[in-house]
Symmetry: C2
Subunit: 421 residues, 2 copies
């Protein structure tokens, strides 16, 4: 399974994707939706085989001593398969962005200019552990008229193979071209690196996983990349905050689901309110198992807090740990966030109009909140229907990426013989 494939094979696979993309781009929404529904049915019909292959991955993972949390992410079940199928049916019901006229005008010489949404072409997804990404990502790519090349991790290779072949066969049955959904079966690093160099064959690469994966892709890819997911998110409790609201938001942002990218990792607290706010906040957090790592000022108020080091300000714990630092002003909070943060999601709890305005203007992140939990940064929560990831870069897409972010535009200009004087 890990054997090296000759260079030609990966390029051939990508060329097949390109051919499929040209055909997918001109399909009607009805044709794409029919395929998505067939893919959903195919998953349910094939559930026994899927679970069998998944067991292979689970056994191998157990032998290798994978943690329970990761094992849980890897494990499929009848309800989880039904969930993937439901996801595909939901995507089928979403509005198709392809063909939307974004803008249009007439030039003085009579040329009629239109800016129209079209698919990106071939999208590469490099992802870790969770096999459901195979299905979720493919569904979004197909709906938006793109061919997709999937490259999952070795720990889920059997699950990914059976899922990809199931939905790919269903898609072909429903009339989609053969190369629409393809899985790169080799899970070695060299193959991944070669995939990243297929500039001209792949239009965009979206890595979904931890910081290490994303850094590798950014370092090595000649294909344009959309960085996703790393979230060192901040809560700033302003001098003017409502203490009760601040406690509730701190608890929600930290503990409602600590392992996800929009969970809060560092809390900045205005010195003037720290004495009043920190003890009740800490009581609630401790009750939910949260450990605090604080600056000197924090530890003077919370003697139970561990000592925070410089590294803590940059850490994405994804765990029940919260870094806490006292600041003297909203400006100090903003510059801490812009320096140490990952430009994902940050929130201010405040009742001061000027401070709120300064915070939302000055913080350089994809999502900036006033008086709300950071946990809302999510395609579904934002009402965008579905999400392929949360972009933390500034090019092309920023924040939750939905179907529209999987498209680009094309200018169509209609004339009657115009030439440039």
């Amino acid at each position: 399974m890990k054997g090296l494939i000759p260079m030609g094979d990966l390029e051939q696979l990508a060329s097949r994707s390109r051919e499929a993309a040209a055909r997918l781009a001109v399909l009607t929404t009805e044709e794409k939706d029919r395929a998505l529904l067939r893919m959903a049915d195919g998953l349910e019909e094939n559930s026994r085989e899927i679970l069998e292959h998944n067991r292979g991955d689970i056994e191998a993972a157990r032998e290798q001593g994978m943690t329970t949390a990761l094992m849980d992410r890897l494990t499929l079940s009848e309800p989880r398969i039904a969930e993937m199928a439901r996801g595909l049916r939901e995507v089928a019901a979403l509005r198709d962005p392809v063909g939307e006229v974004e803008d249009g005008w007439r030039l003085p010489n009579g040329l009629q200019v239109e800016k129209v949404r079209v698919p990106l072409g071939v999208i590469g997804i490099i992802y870790e552990a969770r096999p459901n990404v195979t299905v979720d990502a493919a569904g979004l790519c197909i709906k938006s008229g793109n061919a997709v090349i999937l490259r999952g991790s070795s720990s889920a290779v059997n699950s990914n193979k059976v899922l990809a072949s199931t939905i790919s066969e269903a898609a072909v049955e429903a009339g989609l071209p053969g190369g629409s959904i393809q899985l790169v079966q080799e899970t070695d690093r060299e193959t991944a690196r070669r995939l990243m160099r297929l500039h001209g064959l792949i239009d965009v690469l979206i890595p979904r996983g931890g910081e290490g994966l994303i850094r590798t892709v950014v370092e090595n890819s000649t294909v344009p990349v959309i960085e996703t997911g790393v979230g060192n998110c901040h809560l700033y409790v302003d001098e003017s905050a409502d203490i009760g609201m601040a406690v509730e938001i701190a608890v929600n942002a930290k503990t409602q689901r600590p392992g996800v990218c929009n969970a809060c990792e560092t809390m900045l607290v205005h010195r003037a309110i720290a004495g009043e706010f920190l003890p009740p906040a800490f009581a609630e957090l401790r009750e939910r198992g949260v450990t605090v790592r604080g600056c000197r000022g924090t530890r003077e108020i919370l003697s139970e807090a561990e000592e925070a080091t410089e590294d803590d300000w940059s850490e994405e714990y994804l765990d029940l740990i919260l870094a806490v630092r006292l600041v003297g002003s909203v400006e100090e909070a903003i510059s801490h966030i812009n320096r140490y943060g990952s430009h994902h999601s940050e929130t201010i709890v405040s009742n001061d109009y000027a401070n709120c305005q300064e915070f939302v203007t000055g913080v350089d992140s994809a999502a900036v909140y006033v008086n709300a939990s950071t946990r809302f940064t999510d395609g579904n929560q934002f009402g965008l229907g579905a999400e392929i990831g949360i972009s933390t870069q500034k090019l092309h897409a920023r924040g939750p990426m939905s179907l529209r972010e999987l498209t680009t535009t094309k200018f169509i200009i209609r004339g009657t013989g115009q030439i440039r004087p």
Copy 2:
């Protein structure tokens, strides 16, 4: 001038840009416009010194035997300085994209979501020969609230230095932060490569120049890149074309300005119309000095045509040379264009509704025309006001890039204590 600078210095320069960017992002349009007008005045006031430094570059170029065409691009004059100043004043008069609310809605839980346009941050421009890019690019970056790092070619280094210091000093006089406009004075390749690796300090790199430069940036950059400019543009003359219109468009697209990216390089002609169309078209083209390189069928009709090789279909001549190939259908034309083209601008001359529709849908390029010259793909021609380049990639921006394409968006979410259930 070409001495190696220690790694720290380039990072320090980029850090200064980042600090400037944070301040530029919150300036009002009035403050930015005031700086642009001051920069324009500064250029005119400093014209004697600018021309002096420019003469240094010209003499060095002459000694190195630079071609007349390149010498012309390098040469500044009072009118050319006045033109650069006028350009800055025109940019000052354009609408500021920063602060535009792209979209907004209220979630069921009462959260108010807004998607607001904000500057990208720090933009790096790597460019060749023409010193006016120094001023034009800086003007567009400042207007859109970005700090800019300029890295020009060694042949224009004296001109670029004096232009950059003139406009940078004027910008500071008008209240802009010191690092808003910076020139990397080292023009060696190693410095350029290090610039391309400043991921996290530079938000986007825009190479402006030939194919070699663009490829180097794509291959080496960890900073997100917007590819611009390479244009292997096509004209397809359909069976149903109006011969007179087709001749006029062919002549315009090829000869109106052959050295630019939106000039036509290959003409595809339907076999059924070739005998009637090619002789009059060739007569007009020859009169303007155009050489034709044709396929076998073309040469049977035009005995004067040279023989085209496979390489000709991919060539961007930027010269009075036109490749000509006969095709049997619009489908064949589309697949030739998608295979050999650079996804820039293509046009069909036709009076057949179905063929026109198929062409605009099937051709995978930034701008697709019906019955018009490809020469209109340009920010000014499109009425966008000004242009930093023409993107031939699909991510972020496609086609002429104007002020709006130098911005990104940020979600601002205002609440009253919402937490995620």
